[in-house]
Structures are given as structure tokens and as C-alpha cells.
């Protein structure tokens, strides 16, 4: 197990390095630079700017210097916002994106898994139809449409929730629903089909043949087995929720990470692009890693060598 963990961590580092390298190359292939703007800037100024930020160095040296900085947890200064560092962006945005992500995650889990269970146990009955109808809506309607609808009804018409910002806890409610909608629907469908499949397995019949209650058959024998596929997709889902959705943050004016990420790309803010990508990739890889470890705890057939 220890050997496996060490191997996994090494692979994670290599993966992150490759992601950084690829992003760096792609970023520099795209025409333009952080200092391209509509205003005519004299060549002398550009040269001075490039020299200040070492953008006149050969590319490989820029990459090496940058990666050395990353190793010291220094993602460098932003090229667009004078006096701000990428670390400032992450530290500033993460609390909002993280909080929203966490409440959404709890909300998603509390909704989707019971929904899937009820739908599976009432397979073909009206409860199943109703839940799967909403689940289909949830996966097909884009989150910004849901968000706009929610804002119109609950903020504008009813006035129950603020229209923008997260100054009070109420501000998190609508973004949470809008952002979680897709994941709830997706996970509920997955939970339903997984539980239906498990309920048809031979070992469920064996459990029933023991004369134990149907509740115990489901709780003890079916659910744990049915959760395995759900846990598989939970890693990427958690990473997605935690690092924030640009669209949702934009609609609800939440100063999270998503906005910085998108702006940095359109503005060629090299260090911010790199910093955000590496940060997002790290969270994603870490979540997948945690899920793999979790597997081991829930399924004794999985042994990591």
C-alpha cells in the first residue's frame, strides 16, 4: 500500500508537470501577448515591459524560472493587474468558490442519492417517473437558464434572496441550486440505474432467502454495492464544484476563481492562466486520488499493489 501511495504521488507530480508544460506551450502558440492592446504602445515601452517581466528571455528559460517559482508556491505577478499576484487571486477567490462548492456538494449529495434510491425502489411507479422527469430537465437545461429563472422568481418577484453577491448566507442558496442542478440530476440517474442493477443480483436473492427485512436487504446489501459507480464520478464532480463555475459566479456576481480564469485567457495574462490551470489540475488530481483511496475502503476486491 505504501509503495502504491508513493507511486501514485510521483505520477501525480509528473502529470502536473505535463499539464503545466502543455498549457505553457499552447499559451505561447496563441498570438498576442499580455501587453497587446488597442492603444498604440511604442516599441520602447513594450521592450521595457517585456524586460521587466523577463518575457524577452528564451521560452525554455521562462518556463524553468516559472516552474521554480511554482515549487516555492509562488505563481508570479499578474501581468494585467498591476501590484496583484496570482496568489492574491487564488487566496481571494478560493474562499468564495470553495464555500459555494462545499455547500453545493453537500446539497448535491443530500438530494441526488436519496432521489436515485427512491426512483429505483419505486421503479416504473409515479415517484420514479416524476423524479426522472426532473432529472432529465436538470441534465438538459443549462445552468445559466436555471440561474436566470431562479433569479427572476425568487429574487426579483418574491424578493426572498439577494439578486447578487454573497454578503449573507442567503446569497448562496440560488447559486447552489443552479450549480448543483446538473450534478444532482446526473448522480440521481446514476444512483438509480446502479441500484436497479444491484437489486437484480444473485446476492440480493441470497440475502432475501435469509429472511431478513427488505430494509436491511437494501441498506446492508444493496446500497454499498450501488454506491461504487457513484463514487467513481464523485472525484471530478467535487473538483468541478470546488473550483467554481465561471457562468454561475458571473451571474450571481460572486468574486470566485472562475472569473479570474476566463479573464486571464482572453487577456493573455500568462501567469494567471498558468496559475489557475495548475491550481485547478491539482484539486482535480487530488480528488481523483482521494476517490481511489476511498474505493479501497468500500470495496475489498480492490487492492493497490
Amino acid at each position: 500500500m505504501t509503495k502504491y501511495l508513493i507511486k501514485r504521488v510521483l505520477i501525480m507530480i509528473v502529470t502536473l508537470f505535463m499539464i503545466a508544460l502543455l498549457t505553457f506551450c499552447l499559451m505561447h502558440i496563441v498570438p498576442g501577448s499580455p501587453f497587446t492592446s488597442q492603444k498604440q504602445v511604442s516599441q520602447a515601452v513594450l521592450d521595457a515591459l517585456n524586460a521587466k517581466y523577463n518575457l524577452d528571455d528564451p521560452l525554455w528559460k521562462q518556463f524553468v524560472d516559472y516552474m521554480i517559482g511554482v515549487l516555492h508556491f509562488d505563481f508570479g505577478p499578474s501581468y494585467k493587474y498591476t501590484g496583484k499576484t496570482v496568489n492574491d487571486f487564488i487566496e481571494g477567490g478560493m474562499p468564495y468558490s470553495g464555500t459555494l462548492g462545499l455547500v453545493t456538494l453537500v446539497f448535491v449529495l443530500l438530494m441526488s442519492i436519496p432521489m436515485g434510491i427512491v426512483a429505483a425502489l419505486r421503479n416504473g411507479k409515479w415517484q420514479d417517473m416524476l423524479l426522472m422527469f426532473f432529472a432529465t430537465l436538470g441534465v438538459t437545461i443549462p445552468s445559466f437558464v436555471i440561474a436566470t429563472g431562479l433569479l427572476y422568481i425568487f429574487s426579483f418577484k418574491l424578493g426572498w434572496t439577494p439578486v447578487y453577491g454573497v454578503d449573507t448566507w442567503k446569497g448562496y442558496i440560488l447559486p447552489m441550486i443552479a450549480m448543483g442542478g446538473y450534478s444532482i440530476s446526473f448522480l440521481a440517474r446514476l444512483m438509480r440505474s446502479s441500484l436497479l442493477e444491484v437489486m437484480g443480483q444473485d446476492y440480493i436473492r441470497t440475502a432475501r432467502a435469509k429472511g431478513i427485512s427488505e430494509f436491511r436487504v437494501i441498506w446492508k446489501h444493496a446500497l454499498r454495492n450501488a454506491l461504487i459507480p457513484v463514487i467513481t464520478v464523485l472525484g471530478p464532480t467535487i473538483a468541478n464544484l470546488l473550483t467554481g463555475s465561471f457562468v454561475i459566479e458571473k451571474i450571481f456576481a460572486i468574486p470566485g476563481l472562475g472569473g479570474y480564469f476566463v479573464n486571464s485567457v482572453t487577456q493573455r495574462d500568462y501567469t494567471t492562466i498558468m496559475g489557475m490551470t495548475i491550481f485547478y489540475a491539482t484539486v482535480l488530481i487530488a480528488m481523483i486520488f482521494i476517490v481511489d483511496i476511498f474505493y479501497c475502503l468500500i470495496d475489498p476486491r480492490i487492492k493497490y499493489e
Binding site: Y203, R208, G211, I212, P300
Partner: protein
């Protein structure tokens, strides 16, 4: 003798989108105390459905639509799910066909067997339960029983898993053990071990066994009486000697003729039964075997034969036993005259 199980005119159907599948169409038999009875038939003959009806573990849309199932004199048809649970595992237990999929992959085997004990005796402490499970594992000859309690199913071979299933079924000392093709999924050498084990535990515990199989050879090893099922009906019932020596139903004869024989001339080919089983949504009006039967007459296609008694505990659902049956080409009458 004392009836452990008494099944009277059992009808079981499955509702499907294309119609009602009449899987069992009026089956009656009894199982005596300490007896082992074999139910033989090909896939779709209704043998598994009969056993699952007794357990009331029918999958999906399966329903008992008529008849009676009495266990230890108590009617099971119509019992509530809760009452049925007190019987399942305690009075009647079941071993299933595929040991690879019949155990929960996420729960240690000791706990799975222990759950059977817990289910019917909540007063038992955890330590007592574990001790009982070790005893059971020793009885089914799982080596190093005390060390295997915490093992998971995937750490066992197929034969060992079937031993776990047997231990589970025996845990509450049931009066009737239903074994639904318990050796079909196993290697031949392991099959033999499992059959020997079942025979020895039966001797030890004295319960009745209902053995469902498509393999007459397995029946010969373990059972004293045989029911041959086809098309949801019992076609022939006889003790184990009569079924091989004097089969009365052409289907039984066909089954016996299709058993490979080591001493047989190698040039002679095995005799298959030509054709396939009937459609159980629209079962034939006459004998279900008639379309495949080499001796079929017109009446066989038109009218379902009644059960003819032909001696002590021997009966057959075949028109050949009727008084008016023609003697030319009749395998039964020829045998009576020509053979010993």
C-alpha cells in the same frame, strides 16, 4: 411418513409485455421428512420456478396464481411478507446455482453466514454467532475455518464459496433444504465433493432435500425419488430405481438415452431429443412434449393427459398408459411383453 412439504396444484406465472408466461401449470408433490427428492428437467421446464415459489422469492413479476404450498402443515401461499420472512432461512433454506455471484462481494463471508443466525435468533451474542459460524465452516469442511471468517468471497474458489452457501443454508437447521442446481457452475471434480458433502450433512442433520437439476447423474447420486418436469408440469414421478429401469414417459426415456455412457460403442452417437420446449405464453392444449415425442398420437396433441398411476409411487402423465392406447409401436407394452 410425515410430510415436510406438500405442494398441491401450484400455478405460477410471470407477467411480461408479450403476455402471461405460465411457468408452472399445476404441480403437486410431497417431500417426506429426511427424504431427498430430485426435480429434473431442461431449462424452462419450471423446476426452478417451482422451488422459488416455495421460497416465495420469485423475481420481478412472478406470482403464485393458484394452488397451495404447505410446509410443516402450514399454508405458505397468502402469508404476509413478514410472516414469510420468519420461515425463510429457518424452516426452508436455499442454495443457489452460481456461487460466484450469490455472495455479497463487499461483506466478509463469516458475517454473511452470521447474518442468517442473527436473522432468526436476535438474542445470540456476536461471539456466540462467530463460534457457531466456525462450527458450520468446519461442518462443510472449509479448512482453517476460524481464520476464514474475515475473508471476502473473492478470496475463495467456486467450490469453497458453494461450501459457504451450504453453511449459510444449514445455519438455522432448516427442515427443508432446496438446492437449485448447486453444482452446475462448478468443475466436475468439485461437483463430486459438493454432492458428497451434501449427502453427509443430510445424514448428520436429517433434513429433507429438494434437489433441482438437469443432470440425471447427479440425481442418481443423491436422491431417492425423482420428479421429471416438462412444460410446467410433472411428467413422471418415480423412485430412483424405477426411473432408470422402467421409465414410463417418453421424455424420461429421452433424457436417459441422452446420458453419455463410457461403455457404449464409440461409433454410436448420443441420442438428442429433437426440437425445443414449448412456448409458455400459449402452452399447447395437449401434452407439451407431444411435438417432440416419437410416440405421439392424435390425442396427445389435442388433450392433456391425466396422471396415470403405475404402481407404488410411480406415475406418469402420458397417454401411452391409457387402457385404450395402441400396442403397436408402444414402447411400454413392447417392454412388458418382450423384456424382463
Amino acid at each position: 411418513m410425515e410430510h415436510i412439504l406438500e405442494v398441491q396444484d401450484l400455478h405460477t406465472s410471470f407477467l411480461t409485455s408479450s403476455g402471461e408466461v405460465k411457468a408452472v401449470r399445476g404441480v403437486s408433490f410431497t417431500v417426506e421428512k429426511g427424504e431427498s427428492i430430485g426435480i429434473v428437467g431442461e431449462s424452462g421446464s419450471g423446476k426452478s420456478v417451482t422451488s422459488l415459489s416455495v421460497m416465495q422469492l420469485l423475481a420481478g413479476t412472478g406470482r403464485i396464481v393458484g394452488g397451495s404450498v404447505k410446509l410443516n402443515g402450514r399454508e405458505l401461499v397468502g402469508l404476509s411478507a413478514k410472516e414469510m420472512r420468519t420461515i425463510r432461512g429457518k424452516e426452508v433454506a436455499m442454495i443457489f446455482q452460481d456461487p460466484m455471484t450469490s455472495l455479497n462481494p463487499l461483506i466478509p463471508v463469516g458475517e454473511q453466514v452470521g447474518e442468517m443466525l442473527w436473522s432468526h435468533d436476535k438474542a445470540l451474542s456476536k461471539a456466540e454467532r462467530e463460534a457457531r459460524v466456525v462450527d458450520l465452516f468446519q461442518m462443510v469442511r472449509i479448512p482453517e475455518a476460524d481464520k476464514r471468517l474475515k475473508s471476502f468471497p473473492h478470496e475463495f474458489s467456486g467450490g469453497m464459496r458453494q461450501r459457504v452457501m451450504i453453511a449459510m443454508a444449514l445455519a438455522c437447521k432448516p427442515d427443508l433444504l432446496i438446492a437449485d442446481e448447486p453444482t452446475t457452475a462448478l468443475d466436475v471434480s468439485i461437483q463430486d465433493q459438493i454432492l458428497k458433502l451434501m449427502r453427509s450433512v443430510q445424514k448428520e442433520m436429517g433434513m429433507s432435500i429438494m434437489f433441482i437439476t438437469h443432470d440425471l447423474g447427479v440425481v442418481a447420486e443423491l436422491c431417492s425419488r425423482v420428479l421429471v418436469m416438462y412444460g410446467g408440469l410433472i411428467m413422471e414421478e418415480a423412485n430412483i430405481f424405477d426411473i432408470f429401469e422402467q421409465p414410463l414417459h417418453p421424455y424420461t426415456m429421452g433424457l436417459i438415452a441422452s446420458i453419455p455412457d463410457l461403455n457404449q460403442d464409440k461409433k454410436k452417437r448420443l441420442q438428442p431429443i429433437i426440437g425445443s420446449p414449448p412456448d409458455m405464453i400459449h402452452p399447447p392444449a395437449g401434452c407439451p412434449f407431444a411435438p417432440r415425442c416419437p410416440y405421439a398420437c392424435r390425442i396427445c396433441l389435442e388433450e392433456l393427459p391425466p396422471v396415470f398411476r403405475a404402481g407404488e409411487g410411480h406415475s406418469s402423465r402420458c397417454w401411452l398408459l391409457d387402457e385404450d392406447a395402441p400396442s403397436t409401436g408402444n414402447p411400454l407394452k413392447n417392454r412388458k411383453e418382450g423384456q424382463p
